[in-house]
Subunit: 325 residues, 2 copies
Amino acid sequence: MRNLHELQITTAVEAVASRKEVNEVYFVACGGSQAVLMAGQYLFDKESSVPSHVYTANEFVYDTPKNLCEKSVVISCSHSGNTPETVAATKLARSKGAITICLSNLEGSPLWEAAEYPVHYDWGKDVSDSDKNKGILYGLLFKLLGVLAADAKWDICFKELEKLTELSTKAKEQYDAQAKQWAKDNKRKKTIYTIGSGINYGEVYSTAMCWFMEMQWINSGCIHSGEFFHGPFEVTDYDVPFMLVKSIGNTRFLDERVENFAKKFTEDLLVLDQKDLDLSNVAEEARQYVAAILTGVVIRHFVEAIAFERGHSLDVRRYMWQMEY
Amino acid sequence: MRNLHELQITTAVEAVASRKEVNEVYFVACGGSQAVLMAGQYLFDKESSVPSHVYTANEFVYDTPKNLCEKSVVISCSHSGNTPETVAATKLARSKGAITICLSNLEGSPLWEAAEYPVHYDWGKDVSDSDKNKGILYGLLFKLLGVLAADAKWDICFKELEKLTELSTKAKEQYDAQAKQWAKDNKRKKTIYTIGSGINYGEVYSTAMCWFMEMQWINSGCIHSGEFFHGPFEVTDYDVPFMLVKSIGNTRFLDERVENFAKKFTEDLLVLDQKDLDLSNVAEEARQYVAAILTGVVIRHFVEAIAFERGHSLDVRRYMWQMEY
């Protein structure tokens, strides 16, 4: 991780450490950025005693949680730093005295100015994955947990983020042929569902809402593995496509149960099993978190392949950037 | 509300009141029951300083939140009282010393036995809506808030639940013709999206996951109004059906923004505006909560109409009840 990024993270974490009490951590953003932050709520729920919530920014602004106060920490994210709802939510949180930390690719953006503790992340080819949005977010989360849920493992997890670039490259190579074949097989599908659980839920959420619906105009919906058998599974048929992320974390059984059912009743089940990722040189403590980030990289590789097969660039929008709404 | 139900609620609430401190309220269930409980989390987030979370039961069991302890309150729900994941989650919570409250239609069911404080609700025709699952849940929530976020309005809200039967009958009559027409117009649609926000999110979630996917085998996905413009809206086209719930609560602006966009780009937008409900004889304090319950009644009326037009009974399942999974 670049020294600049580590310094910005440390500054934000020191501000949190200096507060006597943290009553709640709010993760506030929109769309793909909200999906990325969902991992933060997962980590706080499962690894700390500090309550946390994820909010889509405008609900946070128009229907503000009662607990928001000077004891709260609000972590927001916007790639461009220009998402008006996220900027407004961050300003609101700061006006209530909460510690405001934002992640953005653009220094000096409205979000950057709105937050008390802005943290930059890099983007594009040829930059280290530990300096991209997820590397920076997990770095921030591990450092925050080091303060709010002290454990030696958080320093270990933080260091392991350095391996993300190498691991991502390997993961893309590993899935390249399968991604191209899946893309050919599914290029005419009108609907593709995504399914996952635990820390991976944010990845399947953004795959449905952003990759498929926004960037491919393919109908989609994301289903939590634990909910699959309580309604959604009745749509299963031989030609219904599911993309399932199989976790190496505590919720693996939930994902496995979906797999065991779905493989019997659809011919179009894609299982991305995190056990297939080579994490042999990653510390045990960090594996499920590294796996969650790599799963996002792998899914993006599948999405780029189907975009190519469909001749539908991931950069095409018919409403976004085209008009006011 | 029947005296028995009020007594069971009071007993549970007194148990909560007797605890010195409540660190978190967990709402734990599966599918439609989880969707019903989502209103509870909304109420606690916006009206109290007690953190709360909704969990699908198996995630709660396999990946238990760290905060679960004798200071916690766990509210679970299963209509049959036989949902294994919800029973297991309730047993786990009780073993950790949490106050366990369950809602069920079946006294003596496994869930009923698992929870320390079981609360019964009625079901079927000819029973008062204040004694059905949502009437009982809101009754419990208002009484709990009376203890954890004391305010005279909670007693007013509780009393207003008595009007649910009369209001539900009126709401069904009001929407009857529109429901039948919408059903005729949409009976051959392969995909119908649901959209909503705030306290109504649970209703649009269950409409997508249970009414459409489970009981009609229609592809669906639920979209939070605040997220619509951050991905999902790119699927909008002249023939894409949306069912939008327009709230009378704080998030109304979010729903209105979706409506103003969608009506321009699809010919198939159904808006269920809670302002159209006659709530003139309902106390101001209770209106948004009564409206949320009535919206569920209205949506069910639309779903029954489309089930008739499609000749697809709401009682048909191809996997559920047919096999082990």
